[in-house]
Amino acid sequence: MPIGIMAAIGLACGLIIYLVYIKVPQKVKGLEKTEEITSILPGMNCGACGYPGCFAYAQALSQDPDLVTKTPCSQVLQDPDSLAKLEKALGCKLDAAAMCKKALVHCGGNSETVCDYYGVQTCKAAAQLLRGYRKCPYACLGLGDCVEICPQGAISIDPEKNIAIVDPEKCTGCGLCVTECPQDLIELVPAGTKVAFLCNYQPLKNIPGRERCDYGCTHCRKCFKACEFEAIEWNKETALPEFNQEKCTLCLKCVEVCPQNTLADFTKMGKEKEAELVAAK
């Protein structure tokens, strides 16, 4: 008799599950499309698009294809194969050349270290104490928060200068490092950038760069005068040069002429000392 009761309760439970199963439709709308898009996406689940993983992003895309122009997956933009497949799946055209961005660390890294730091070895912790242990309060601290967060492994720490350098070939411009850096050093620049400006000292009209570090911009305007192709404009408000990458022919006259070595060739960043660059930690 007790076995009969147990069997009866078991059967009742089974019946309830079956009823719920047929009442609650399991075919979520658009699941096939979501799975198709998920197979096209890189599957790294880096979270740079703002969604918790490639599957969630694919779900959002299957409901609203316009999302791909507002928050594109930067890795797909770089790979022409996946880009073509995604365009076909969503039925839209993406201007990859205009949307591609790369990260740039705006620091030349020659500000001298003022003290020894023995705290928690992350940039965020070091930046809490008077903005870091470098003479320039906006310098790169080189403890590698950006190195850890980069899903492509495109950032490495230069062992001589102790600053982070982004390899533009590996970088997909996802933007995770931008939010991670506590000194607001990293900026997403268009992929066609030719000349990089390596100073982060916030714009003032006096000459702060020279007294803080050897690489600081002194607002001397030599680069502006040296450019023969009118690719550099001088912004009077911020007293900084602005580069027009389309007119730039990569003659590198401005890089040579700059007395502070603040400018550099963006296309060669991270490649000169490839043998010596090691990852932080």
Binding site: I9, I16, V24, Q26
Partner: protein
């Protein structure tokens, strides 16, 4: 009323499921890496505990006791809990697919979770009334969620610390759990 408050407080702090009774340790160590998923897990377990308490109380008082087969309670409770978890899984899969995937294996693991079976057996052995059972279940679930939230907060901060390589991950989590348990012993004897 004061009895309900005493039961509730007892379940949340004094006889906390994880740190004092040592039940439900599997999701405690498995899901406590991030605050978001820890809270979701706690809410799911609370929900299962509450509904399971209700269902098992009804079955015990209206089927098992009148028919004098109270000794079958463990098996029958497990059946009921498994059914409930399956139904909840079907609902979560339909409404929020992302949450379903983020739980992974830990959602069906609530079925075999000692804490859920524990609350139903506590209700049975202490012979609680219906309101006391549900209050006890809610308290148990809240205590579970509380400790899960504390542990995930600590573990997130632990990522930054300089842990020795052999202690990274689970070993240091066990030690932290032991320290937390020691702290919670301070609550004993209040009621």
């Amino acid at each position: 009323m004061s009895e309900l408050v005493a039961i509730f407080l007892g379940m949340v702090l004094i006889n906390n499921f994880i740190l004092v009774r040592f039940l439900g340790l599997c999701p405690f160590f498995g899901v406590s890496k991030q605050l978001g998923s820890a809270i979701s897990m706690g809410v799911a377990v609370t929900f299962v505990m509450a509904i399971a308490s209700l269902a098992t109380w009804l079955i015990r008082n209206y089927i098992l006791i009148p028919l004098d087969i109270e000794y079958m309670h463990i098996v029958i409770f497990i059946l009921v809990i498994a059914t409930l978890v399956q139904i909840i899984e079907l609902f979560i899969k339909k409404t929020n697919l992302g949450l379903y995937f983020s739980f992974g294996i830990y959602l069906p693991l609530i079925t075999t979770n000692c804490a859920v079976l524990g609350i139903t057996l506590i209700n049975a052995t202490q012979d609680y009334s219906l309101s006391s059972s549900i209050v006890a279940a809610l308290g148990g679930g809240l205590g579970f969620t509380l400790v899960l939230a504390i542990m995930s907060g600590i573990r997130e901060k632990l990522e930054l610390a300089n842990t020795p390589k052999s202690m990274k991950g689970l070993p240091i989590a066990f030690i932290i759990a032991a320290l937390l348990g020691l702290a919670f012993v301070g609550f004993s004897g209040i009621i």
